[in-house]
Symmetry: C2
Subunit: 330 residues, 2 copies
């Protein structure tokens, strides 16, 4: 089993590599080789298989072909520039998120013309393919009306994934990840950052800023759940997907108030007191256009599992992130 | 008012040019110049304005830029290769239907960086952006799950149209045309051909073959209605569209049996007897995946109007197509 991961240097990519190292196999077959690609060379993990790490930009001529020349059996295509950057730099967003993905898909199709080659391809999409108008609960049959260029690029790649799969060029499956909480690391400037920081910072005794109301509702999964989705997508029989090759992943629909109460139960009032309310109308306006909940029954029927309470999400963070341990011993 | 029409040599393109000649103006402004482009040079109509006809392939480097250099105020982007060809020739389909459209969009965006330029762009999409799973009545908020590469390319262009419009690069509106009936001309090999030929041929005293059951239901508009949609899309205020920049056009949901009864009322039993039933399971299987009806309320509220009976559709054909006149005098 040869595995290619694009975007391997990112938070999800690195966690995925560690999970693959732990299991050592996929679909019952031992992992023989890992090809880890990103715009900067990913760190080589300490893992007793052939590992190649490389810095590559899929949108550059020949880059995708050279990755695919090794004919990986399984491809996790995680590489993308993030929402804010894709919105600010229109050309770069389309070049990386659309042209880069299409170059990868084309390289696979063309490799298959030389001799049969139909790898499993797992593509990470996002719930931001959904925009206005949004019902309170969004099913997989709801139209894609992204409100950002990033969401547009992901939606287009979902369509390409379905068409390339239908033609038999690869065996594709797309998974729309919920907003990941608790993201490890430092606070960042993403509009969604507070969904993680209002838990992560108080857990280690630091202050965090809440820029929106406690009634704001959104759709969440832990990083561990996200890795579980990716691994499961690599394993399952894709035939029941039909033409809907991309699935919204199960998540937890929760309000900011739910997050805070879960924090109180896990870490006490002391932690909750570290959340400072500082309303920000810009952030509130962005968040207002975001989805609140999904009907993820299709994914659940196929065996994808998310968390069912925010306490679980906090416990996952405490278990998985060494940096969170300070709080655990408070 | 300078107007560019891509795909101007096609059936819809030629009818659109004639309609523009008749009205002489758009949005109250006289038409000063028509730029008619297609893969083969369109015929120059006899119309007292500046007319340029040119053979061009939008997917070739520089082609879109040179069309846009004249800064048309209004663009009808009709150019595409058809469903069957896009399915059989994967690369050509993506090159013409996706890359050609994107090249046009990019040329407009880049022209606007030199000095302000925000033309109205009317894009023809198709109801084949919808595939399985299909409810009996499909609304504009239903997901796009095309079953062909052609449908995928149209769906992707709808997403691009929305994103370029949101960024203010142009003022785009997409219209999903129903199946056009009665198409003028000779019978062709398209799976949908019989929807026209079972009326068109008997009207001029010729035999036609019906390959499917009379219970088959589909969504129709006349060529005249299609031209009306295009002209209306050029005129309307696009602000109420929001993020859903593409609309399913009003059509008539009718069965083959409804078509035949309308033929009987307009042209008598004699005409109906010219329909020869010759079941074709291949065609039946293709048609089975097609949509049967739509909720086109959004388009209707914006003033788009289709036909309400198949007799109207037949009468439009008799009025608009000189070749149909033989039957009229039978």
């Amino acid at each position: 089993m040869k595995i290619l991961i694009t975007g391997a240097a990112g938070m999800i990519g690195r966690k995925l590599v560690r999970a693959l190292m732990r299991s050592g196999k996929v679909r019952g077959q031992p992992i023989r080789r890992l090809i880890l690609a990103d715009i900067v060379a990913p760190e080589a993990p300490d893992f007793d298989v052939e590992i190649e790490t490389l810095a590559t930009d899929l949108s550059q001529p020949g880059a995708a072909e050279s990755l695919i020349a090794q004919r990986p059996d399984l491809i996790f295509h995680l590489a993308a520039i993030v929402s804010g950057e894709a919105e600010a730099d229109f050309e770069k967003g389309y070049r990386v998120n659309l042209d880069g993905t299409r170059a990868l898909f084309e390289a696979i199709r063309l490799a298959g013309r030389e001799r049969p080659y139909v790898p499993r391809l797992v593509f990470t999409s996002s719930i931001v393919v959904f925009g206005n108008p949004l019902p309170p609960v969004i099913s997989d049959s709801h139209c894609l009306t992204p409100l950002t260029s990033y969401g547009t690029q992901k939606a287009i790649c979902e369509l390409l994934l379905a068409d390339y799969s239908r033609h038999g060029f690869f065996d594709g499956i797309g998974i729309r990840l919920p907003t990941i909480s608790i993201r490890p690391g430092k606070p960042n400037k993403a509009a969604s950052g507070f969904f993680s920081s209002i838990l992560r910072e108080p857990l280690i005794g630091e202050e965090a800023i809440l820029p929106v109301s406690e009634t704001v509702r959104h759709w969440f999964a832990s990083p561990r759940a996200a890795i579980g989705f990716l691994l499961h997508a690599a394993e399952i029989d894709t035939r029941p997907l039909g033409q809907l090759r991309t699935l919204t992943m199960p998540g937890l629909s929760a309000t900011v108030g739910d997050q805070i109460e879960a924090l109180r139960r896990v870490a006490g009032d002391e932690a909750v007191r570290l959340i400072r309310r500082e309303p920000d109308s810009d952030i509130a306006a962005i968040i207002a256009g975001w989805p609140q909940g999904f009907d993820a029954r299709r994914a659940e029927e196929l065996g994808f599992r998310g968390e069912t309470s925010f306490e679980d999400i906090i416990r996952v963070h405490l278990e998985d992130e060494p940096e969170s341990r300070i709080a655990e011993h408070n």
